[in-house]
Every structure is written in C-alpha cells, then in structure tokens.
C-alpha cells in the first residue's frame, strides 16, 4: 500500500483509540483529580461495562441496534451503582487515605475479576455492532462503526465538559477539587460529591467499554491496558485539566498508530512509551497542568 493511504489508515486507527481512551481517562481524571485517590479498579469498571454490554445485548433479541442501545444506557448505570456501593462501603471508611485506597482498590480489582470469571467465563465474547456499514475507500475498506465511535465519544466529552463548566454540579465538583476543606466550610456536601464523582468516573469507563466492545470483545482480563493508558493520559495531560486529558489521549492514540507505520511493532511501542515518558520527565506537571500542588 502507498505511503499516504497507509498513514491515513494509521491516523484513523489512532483516532479510534484516542476516542475510547479519552472517555476512560476522563473518568479516572475526575476520580484522581477530585478525590485524590488512585483507583486501581478503574480498568475493572471498564471491563464490567463490556461484560454487561454482552449480557444485555444477548438478552435482548431483535435488531442488534436494540440490544446495543439498551447496553449503552443500562451498563453504565449498573456499573455506576456498583461503584457507588463500593465507595460507600469501603473508600469512605478509609477517609480516602491515598495508601489505604490503593490496597482497597486492588482488593476490588481481584473481587470484580473473579466474579467476572466465575459468572461470565474465561472466553472472549463478541457483541454485534448496531450497524455494520463498511466504508469503501479507494485503497482499503474501513468500518463505519469505528468512525461512529469517534463521534459518540466527542459528543460525550462535550456533554461532560458542559456539565463541569456550565452547571452548578460542575461548579461544586470543581470547588471540591480545588480545596475540599474550604468547600466543606461553604456547605458543600463533600462526602456526597465524592460518592457521585466515583460513580461518574466508573460510568464513563463503562460507556467507553460499551462503545469499544463491538470491535474488541468482552474478556475478563481486558481492564489492565485501559487502566495503565488512562493513568498515563491523565498525568501527561496534567492533573485536573479536562483539556489536557483530551489532548494527551489524542496524542497517545495517534502516536501509537503512526509510529507503527515506521517501525516494527514492538519497537514502535518501545519508542512511543519512551517518548511519552520523556515528556513527563521534562514537564513533570504535564502538558496543561499548573505547577505542582
């Protein structure tokens, strides 16, 4: 294949990766930014979203789009509810102590993974895409559904941005993030904000998973890579910067796709990871972060 189309394909692929990554990372960024806890179980919420999407879409017969849409609504709600329970039962009792929450969320990771293995099984299971339109370009074919993921993700990101910057809920969240003690003094129920943020973060991961599951199957170990990549994106973007998270997601997604055009795949991964690490070495606060807090 000629170089131009090859690059186009790599860029498209990179954008799809970025779109899903941005949503997942945004969820982590909220939890990380507002609550200051490292949620190791974030990837498992992602996995739960995908597994539930499989369960819901197979339970609903008829056109695949019906099952998919049901999953898109229900799976995040269920995951959000689970996260809420986990937050109330465990994290709150730990006073969000950073070290204790790491152990606790590792515990959650084990529990969620084991339950998925027990009830869902070890196999990788596909979910049928809501539509399967193949876009025929002069050089290669491309999945129409994949392009729709980019659009859906962009819409959801915009919606989140709107909530965060233009609504009272967003204002409360930002106030809590900025200084939780002062927020408390001003009568903001910090406790409930934390619960809501934790649930919202999990829901964003679940939505991302539902979107991706028609192209990459649900599997009980699928949570690890999104977790690691999300951490990277959040920190590279700059803690607490929505814009930074988005830019970093696009940067990492695209670089992963495009570097693979020039180097052998494993070498490409090495170079991409090293480059991103170096960004952080020379700009520790991240691309859009303010000086360390």
């Amino acid at each position: 294949m000629a170089f131009g189309p090859h690059l186009l394909l790599a860029a498209l692929e990179g954008l799809v990766t970025s779109a899903v990554l941005a949503l997942t990372a945004l969820g982590l960024s909220l939890v990380f930014g507002v609550m200051r806890v490292v949620n190791v179980a974030h990837g498992e919420f992602f996995m739960l979203g995908a597994v539930l999407a499989w369960a819901i879409s197979t339970a609903i017969s008829g056109h695949p789009a019906l099952g998919f849409l049901a999953a898109l609504v229900l799976a995040p709600l269920i995951v959000g509810a689970i996260a809420l329970v986990a937050e109330r039962l465990v994290l709150r009792r730990l006073n969000y102590n950073p070290e204790a929450t790491i152990v606790a969320t590792i515990g959650m990771l084990y529990i969620i993974q084991q339950l998925a293995l027990t009830f869902y099984g070890p196999g990788a299971r596909p979910v049928e895409p809501p539509f399967s339109y193949r876009i025929l370009l002069p050089w290669f074919g491309y999945s129409g559904y994949k392009l729709s993921i980019i659009a859906a993700s962009a819409f959801l990101l915009l919606a989140t941005w709107f909530v965060l910057t233009r609504t009272k809920i967003g204002l409360i969240m930002r106030a809590t993030q900025y200084d939780s003690e002062t927020a408390q003094a001003f009568g903001i129920p910090v406790d409930r904000v934390y619960a809501g943020v934790f649930a919202l973060g999990a829901m964003l991961a679940a939505v991302a998973a539902v979107l991706i599951v028609p192209i990459s199957q649900a599997h009980y170990l699928m949570g690890q890579d999104p977790l690691l990549l999300s951490f990277i994106v959040v920190i590279i973007g700059g803690l607490g910067s929505l814009r930074g998270t988005l830019v970093a997601a696009v940067l990492i997604g695209l670089s992963d796709g495009i570097i693979s055009v020039f180097f052998s795949p494993t070498l490409a991964k090495i170079i991409a990871t090293l480059l991103v690490a170096m960004v952080l070495v020379f700009r520790p606060q991240g691309l859009f972060g303010t000086a360390s807090r």
Partner: protein, 320 residues
C-alpha cells in the same frame, strides 16, 4: 523515629532471624520451600520499602529493577557461562546501574508523575525484553541450567537446587538485607530521608541536597530489588518476562502496604501474609481471588497502616 535505645530493635531483628533459622529444622517440606521463596521476595519488598516507605516515593516500576537482577544474573550464566558469584554480582550491578539512570530521569518528577514515569520506564524495559527475544527467551523465558547452579567455594561446592542450601542462602540474603535496612533507617541518612518524606521543602531549606539524597535512595532501593531478582534466578532457575510485567511492580507495593510501610519487618510480614492467604484459600475454592480481594479490603479497613504499622501505632512505638 523515636530515640529508643538501639538494643530493643536489634534484639527483635536478631530474634526474627534466629526464629527463621530454627524454622528450617521443623517446617514440613512444602512450607520449607515456600518460605525460602517468600524470603527472597521479601527482599524485593524491602527494597521497595526503602523508597516508598522511607522517602515516600511511590514507584510503579520496581519490576524492572527486580528483573534487571533476574536477567543480569540468569543471562550471564546462560550465555556467558559465568559462575554463580560472578553472575550474582552481574545481576546486582545491572540493577544498580539501571536504578542510577532511572533515578536521574525520574527524580525530576514527584508524586503521581513519579509513579507514572517509573511505570512507563518499566513498560519500556518489559518490551525491550520481548524485543530481544533471541537472547532473553521473550515471554517464554529461559531455564538456568541445573548443572550451572552450583556455588563453588574453594574445595566445597554448594548445590543451590538442594532445599537446605536454598533455604539457608535465602535466609542469609534476607538477614543481611534486613540488617542493612535497619542500619540505614537508624542512621543519620535514614532520618534525612524521612525528613524529605515529611517535608521536602523544609529539608531543602535546612541545607540538605534532597535530589542527591533521593537519588542514593533510588539506587539503594533498586540494588536491593535487583539482588532479590538475581537470587531468584540462581536459586529457582528461571528467568521470564512475566517478572517484568506491571503486576510484579504492584505486588511489592501491596506487600509493603499490607505489612506496614516504613517498618523494617513489614515487607516480610506482608509477603508472608499474601502468600499464605492465596495458598490457603486456593485450597478451599477455585474462586480464591474473591476471598483474597475481600481479605485485602478487610485488612485495610481495620489495619489502615498495614499490619506492623498499626501495631506500632497502637502498641509498640519503638518498632523501627
């Protein structure tokens, strides 16, 4: 950091070492073998604790130091045919050099950025192992040949594959590293580290070069982890990339947090606890990870500072 008399802590640590030595005569075969492995991995956890517990730097990349030692020692035997002591030294040296390079780069950051940077460097290290699969054996790993795992000391030769030699070597390694960490922690340098953890700015203002102090800590920590990795390769005869995966970076963090960060014996307790929870529960149910998960959450709810950390806080203030 209480200024208690040095006798008590040293007596305790010697007691633990003597107890472990005595156990080697009474433990059934299986637990004997398991404890040897736990002691080697506890050294890994102690190395991690140096940095995380005492300097407060949370790394998610210590698997690279462990596997630097693992591969440094293992590949020296496999490809170069080096003797056990030479290979052991090679492993430790690899870890120390890597820690120096990583330290210089990663210490430009702090907090969560440090965590992510170390994680990414470890990921690079892991991929490099896969990339050079023709030398490293890639994901399958390689066996360190049994005949090469003999320690020749003058006229006597010790077979590292014999359970007794293995236990004794593991205990010797564990004891040396334990006493070294205890000495470091109680030294003036150890107090500087804790001061950095508690308030880096103030320590700097007091005239300490915090960067080089932290760098030394990274190198010491990385070297201890590499020592554990090198010992693992020589004692258990296998090197593989799974030891460089992020899972093995999270494990020492978990062990240290369970046992109690910034306690000298916490790493051993945490490793021991985690191993036996998995070992015992997997005997009762195939869904043992569920129980492990619940155990972790319960533990952290009731012992938020880890087992030894909570004991120190409540009862034994003098614990180092």
């Amino acid at each position: 950091m209480k200024d208690a008399s040095p006798a008590k802590p040293y007596a305790l640590h010697l007691g633990v070492i003597i107890l472990l030595f005595a156990l080697s005569f009474v433990l059934p075969d299986y637990h004997h073998g398991l404890l040897a492995r736990i002691m080697v991995l506890a050294v890994f956890a102690m190395g991690y604790n140096m940095l995380f517990g005492y300097v407060g730097l949370l790394s998610l990349g210590h698997a690279m130091f462990f596997s630097a030692g693992l591969y440094g020692a293992g590949l020296a035997v496999i490809h170069l045919g080096w003797s056990v002591p030479a290979a052991f030294a090679a492993g430790i040296l690899c870890g120390a050099l890597l820690a120096l390079v990583i330290g210089v780069l990663a210490l430009r950051t702090s907090g969560v950025a440090f965590m992510i940077v170390t994680m990414m460097f470890a990921q690079v290290f892991y991929l490099v192992i896969l990339y050079f699969a023709s030398w490293t054996g890639g994901d399958q790993g390689m066996v360190v040949p049994q005949p090469a795992r003999v320690l020749v000391l003058g006229s006597t030769s010790l077979d590292l594959t014999s359970p007794t030699v293995r236990y004794t070597s593991a205990l010797a390694l564990f004891s040396i590293v334990l006493l070294i960490t205890l000495a470091i922690v109680r030294s003036r340098y150890g107090r500087v580290l804790v001061a950095i953890r508690e308030n880096e700015e103030r320590t700097k203002m007091l005239g300490y070069d915090t960067f080089s102090n932290k760098l030394v800590a990274v190198v010491v920590s990385g070297t201890i982890c590499a020592t554990s990795g090198a010992a693992y390769a020589l004692l258990f005869g296998y090197v593989g990339s799974s030891f460089a995966s992020v899972q093995y970076s999270i494990l020492p963090l978990l062990w240290v947090l369970l046992g109690g960060a910034a306690t000298t014996l916490g790493p051993l307790i945490g490793t021991l606890f985690m191993y036996y929870v998995v070992d015992i529960t997997s005997g009762f149910t195939s869904a043992y990870l569920l129980i492990v998960g619940i155990a972790l959450i319960l533990l952290v709810l009731f012992f938020p500072k880890g087992i030894l950390g909570s004991i120190r806080q409540r009862w034994l203030g003098w614990l180092p």
